[in-house]
């Protein structure tokens, strides 16, 4: 007659069970994302526009530096080139930056109520997507102003955005889980983001990088996503070998990160 609804024990949840649990909490992901967007821009005059002020400022500086001072040779407008890179880079760093801190920022909640903690990390993906789409609008405006042509490859954009999310989460989930135990990662993240941009072809083309350093991009989580954005928007060439290796690597890291996260999740309340 009676039906077992729930069991609490130290048995490990399988990945699929956990993801099912997360799926059941999908409304919560949405609620958290809404909350975060609202809080982030509450009582600001510019609101969501703030999310593009950072990439826009970077763009202006790069534009000045690489066009007026260094005169980087380009057959397309440099601003469009740099912004396709910045767009992907900022989405990526937003994911790893937020994923690393989201659990700590929601301690009070975590100690008082149960929900799959991954929900918090995933809500940050939604927030990032909203901010990303504003950048996208800006890019399109920029392309129209500079008379760039649009190719039908733009239809593949959603797939590249997914690749961007996977790249972000493959690092972000690890950082999320690691920060629970070692708050050191809290300090490592800004450091990673600050220096990472130099190792990433955001404001320079990979053609400037000597062949012998090409291996860096083989495992680089975001470099190849940026290459794909450029392939779509400015018809830049892509290295399919790099793509294959880096995406498989990112995907494996994501799965391993999820498993690591699930194993550590049950201790979150003990550590906080």
């Amino acid at each position: 007659m009676r039906q077992l609804v729930k069991t609490v024990s130290n048995k490990r949840h399988s990945l699929s069970e956990y993801l099912q649990d997360v799926w059941n909490s999908r409304e919560l992901i949405l609620s958290f994302a809404k909350r975060d967007l609202k809080i982030q821009y509450a009582q600001t005059y510019l609101g969501l526009l703030w999310s593009i002020i950072q990439p826009l400022t970077a763009l202006i500086i790069f534009n000045f530096f690489f066009q007026r001072i260094i005169h980087l040779p380009m057959d397309i407008p440099y601003s469009v080139f740099a912004f396709t890179g910045l767009m992907g880079w900022f989405f990526f760093t937003q994911l790893i930056g937020q994923a690393g801190t989201v659990l700590m920022n929601n301690q009070a909640l975590i100690k008082k109520i149960y929900f799959p903690r991954l929900v918090l990390t995933l809500s940050k993906v939604l927030v990032g997507l909203i901010e990303f789409s504003i950048s996208l609008v800006l890019l399109i405006m920029l392309m129209v102003i500079t008379n760039c042509s649009f190719s039908s490859k733009i239809l593949l954009l959603p797939l590249v955005v997914i690749a961007n999310v996977i790249a972000g989460l493959s690092v972000g989930i690890w950082l999320s889980a690691l920060t629970i135990r070692f708050r050191d990662f809290h300090h490592i993240i800004p450091f990673l983001i600050g220096f990472g941009i130099w190792l990433t072809p955001v404001f320079y083309p990979t053609t400037l990088v000597p062949e012998s350093y090409n291996w860096i991009y083989l495992f680089h989580p975001i470099a190849n996503v940026i290459a794909l954005y450029r392939w779509i928007f400015i018809d830049a060439s892509v290295n399919s070998m790099n793509l294959l290796v880096s995406f498989s690597f990112a995907f494996l890291m994501l799965i391993a990160g999820l498993i690591f996260f699930i194993r550590n999740e049950k201790f979150i309340a003990d550590y906080l």
Binding site: Q3, T7, V8, K34, Q43, I113, Y114
Partner: protein, 427 residues
């Protein structure tokens, strides 16, 4: 519904949880390395927050969990809610659980009342559709209709709590877990909470409540588990467990003062000795019985305070009777009796006497504190000194043996015999 009334709805089997001492402290990588090397040479320390805790709950039962701070109450509740994982053992739920460890979980000050309702409700497991359906009820229950689209940071504390509680009141589940929820808010809010819990009990919901407030537990719980250092120390009907607990809590009272439940004869050495007088002894006993016999509710209680008066002055005696939480139930002063007032000129030994009539105080634990007010000859009471006994005398008033269980442990401090009458209606 009634056929399933006695089914087991929750079973906890051998639930244990330990914390590694280093686990709780280590926050950085460097410390981990240090701890790792230390652990090679020393055995690592862990302490059990819960040790083999097992219990069962049947549908419609209300379980109270009591114990001192650090006894494991919160850990147990966190494990039941799924926030923490047990090291060993398992808990099976045969119904939907709602755990309410906090009023207003997930509330954010920047969000409006409406937004917070939806966020908080989704945290408690309500779907958006369910929340939409219940929204008007939640709103009218909360009484903050006018301000529902204002950020809650502009709410008064009372409005905030009312809105938060309105959500809790609309959660649908079979098993409810409460942690000290009744400890927040003003009297009106607490009344609302109590009514809600009563409603849950009437609806045959199963409730687990953790509280420091023993009177709260005694009001609702059918059964009580008492935890101590992570183990179940005592389990049984709420009245017996609470009585044990209160006596012990009193016996091991704070600051080493001797406020313990004593056996008869009930004698208090007051320690009061002044230039004007000494208090020789204070005694309580059942009127008309040996001083060594227990006091029953049906006995009158005699109070005798012997003093030795050394100077001319006026001395008034008084007493407070409190419950064991320290709430004063009644107070009495000899000044109110006319014949004692004329004692100014007397010096030497004497005794203040007063008595409670039979059937006045209810059965239970009562604490007696005595005080004296001295006024120098001819001076006003304004210049009086008040001396209070350092210790209090805690006595247990027993129910008469023959009394039926139904009438033995009914709550209340006073149980005077009032005259009830009954008239048959005319045929």
């Amino acid at each position: 519904m009634s056929s399933s009334a006695n089914e087991i709805i929750l079973e906890a089997k051998n639930v244990s949880k330990s914390f590694w001492v280093h686990k709780r402290q280590v926050k950085s990588f460097k410390e981990t390395v240090a701890v790792f090397f230390r652990s090679l040479s020393q055995s690592s320390e862990s302490f059990y927050a819960l040790r083999s805790v097992s219990f069962e709950l049947r549908q419609g039962e209300v379980l109270g969990v009591i114990g001192k701070n650090g006894a494991g109450k919160s850990t147990l509740l966190k494990i039941l809610s799924g926030i923490m994982q047990p090291d060993e053992g398992e808990i099976n739920f045969y119904g939907k659980v709602a755990s309410i460890l906090d009023v207003g979980a997930g509330f954010h000050p920047e969000l409006t009342g409406r937004e917070n309702v939806f966020l908080s409700a989704s945290l408690y497991g309500l779907t958006k559709i369910e929340t939409e359906r219940k929204f008007n009820d939640i709103l009218s229950f909360s009484g903050v209709e006018k301000f529902i689209d204002e950020p809650v940071k502009n709410y008064s504390a009372g409005m905030y709590l009312r809105l938060a509680f309105a959500i809790i009141a609309h959660i649908d589940a079979d098993i409810f877990l409460f942690d000290e929820v009744l400890a927040v808010g003003d009297a009106e809010f607490q009344l609302k909470c109590r009514n809600k819990i009563r409603e849950l009990i009437e609806d045959k919901k199963t409730v687990v409540m953790v509280s420091h407030n023993l009177s709260e537990i005694s009001k609702f719980a059918h059964r009580v588990i008492r935890l101590d250092s992570g183990k179940i120390l005592d389990e049984g009907s709420s009245s017996t467990i609470l009585e044990h607990y209160m006596e012990e809590a009193y016996n091991s009272n704070v600051s080493g003062s001797k406020n313990s439940v004593v056996d008869p004869p009930y004698i208090l050495s007051s320690g009061i000795s002044t230039d004007h007088f000494d208090v020789l002894s204070i005694e309580l006993f059942a009127s008309g019985k040996e001083k060594t016999s227990k006091i029953l509710r049906t006995d009158g209680i005699n109070v005798e305070v012997a003093i030795n008066k050394k100077k001319k002055c006026s001395i008034q005696a008084g007493m407070f009777v409190s419950d064991i939480s320290g709430n004063i139930i009644l107070t009495n002063v000899s000044l109110d009796s006319e014949d004692i007032i004329g004692n100014d000129t007397f010096t030497g030994k004497g005794t203040f006497s007063v008595s409670f009539p039979p059937n006045f105080l209810n059965s239970g634990l009562f604490s007696f504190t005595f005080f004296f007010v001295i006024t120098e000859d001819g001076k006003e009471f304004d210049s009086a000194r008040r001396l209070v006994t350092k210790n209090n005398l805690v006595i247990k008033i027993n129910s008469p043996e023959a009394e039926s269980v139904y009438f033995k442990n009914i709550p209340g401090y006073l149980r005077p015999s009032l005259n009830w009458t009954f008239k048959e209606l005319q045929k």
